[in-house]
């Protein structure tokens, strides 16, 4: 087992098995890059048995809401979420995309009505779980996970 270069957290959430390079997006989508006061660690390109490489995000004293879990599943469907209490994993959650994704990611189509300042949130229908493919419920265009802007 490779040495981890960041120490364990006592309480909080570890988001593991994030596709390599997507760790920063996970932090952004959880809006933790600003205004999150506790310790936050991002490990990128860690060796993994399941994925060749993976990113890991560790957030001290952070509990994810259901909406936050759903938002992670849009950009990192392979991730697992570990709830940590007193240095131990007390719960492990596998992600599954909901049928609809609302207000999590913006529609990449600049001509979509959701990008024009109208009072309407981006809404996507999940048309494929793996690889993730979403269809905008407004402009009806389809997008792969990598095309989605955080």
């Amino acid at each position: 087992m490779p040495d981890l270069k960041v120490s364990k957290i006592s309480n909080g959430t570890v988001i593991d098995h994030i596709p390599p390079g997507r760790g920063l997006d996970v932090i952004k989508i959880l809006r933790m890059e600003r205004g999150f006061d506790n310790t936050l660690s991002l490990l990128m390109n860690v060796e993994s048995s399941r994925l060749e490489k993976k990113d890991i995000v560790k957030a001290e004293d952070k509990e994810l809401t259901k909406e936050e879990v759903d938002s992670v599943s849009v950009i990192a469907p392979s991730a697992t979420i570990n709830i940590i209490e007193d240095y131990g994993v007390v719960e492990k959650k596998r992600l599954r995309l909901p049928d609809k994704v609302e207000g999590v990611v913006d529609c990449p189509n600049p001509h979509c009505v959701t990008n024009t300042g109208e009072p309407v949130e981006a809404l996507f229908e999940v048309v494929n779980q793996n690889p993730v493919e979403l269809k905008c419920s407004y402009c009806e265009r389809k997008f792969k996970a990598l095309e989605l802007e955080i």
Binding site: C112, T116, V120, C139
Partner: protein
Amino acid sequence: MKGNLISIDDLERSDIEDFLSKASQAEKMSKAEASKILRGHILSTIFLEPSTRTRLSFDAAMKRLGGSTIDLAAEVSSVEKGENIADTSAVVAGYSDICVIRSPYEGTARMVAENTDVPVINGGDGANQHPTQTLLDLYTIKKEFGHIDGLKIGMLGDLKYGRTVHSLAEALDHYDVDIRLISPEETKMPEHIVEKIGIEEEKTELEIEDLDVLYATRIQKERFPDKQEYERVKGEFILNKQRVKEMKKGSILMHPLPRVGEIKPEVDKLPQARYFEQSCNGVPTRMGIILELLGVDKDA
């Protein structure tokens, strides 16, 4: 739940047939009979982009049914003063019994439909959908042949950027038809549509002799980011008298109009030319759409 007409993608074959059947009923009615049906009803039209045929044919359709119309003039409207489309359309739609909206932004009609209690018709939303055009195209084909199944239908011209052909192809996927795509390399139909509806015939030469229906389209200058590319493809596949005469007996040539040189005026008098009738079919088709969405059955 109120009915809307937002996207061809929302419709099953039976929904399409219901609209076409209502259009046929509307066309067969006498003017006197039709003009009693929607007396006292109001259609609101919100056009945030220029339109001639769609706007006027909706106006004509509602008036033929005995109703009246109110129209939001975008250039002097509250939208121009900075009010958002959602608020403006909710107010205007609220003054009427049914509303048509055209907008340059994709998804606008769906947003409007969510914000109002009256039925909403998509009169075109950017490059996305123009479902009433598709229904009038299908109506024209059905009126001509008595059926849609079994026909060989060619789509010609700008298949990459033309939303009309995308919607028509998706609607025809509900029918047992052979579709042939004919276009220059530069304006081929997007792969995801070709795959979705399983089109097998793609040509880069004008092979039209064995078609029942040839649907020609305008090359839309505004959709080309590269103006040189536009200039290069615009002259290809021009339909002149000689070429159209090669089409088989009983076949028809359609075009959503306006044309910009892709069909020569000399073709207009040939028996195949059907584009002006097609355009006129916009009125009964839109009468049918209004009747269907308002749940009016004249025989009931």
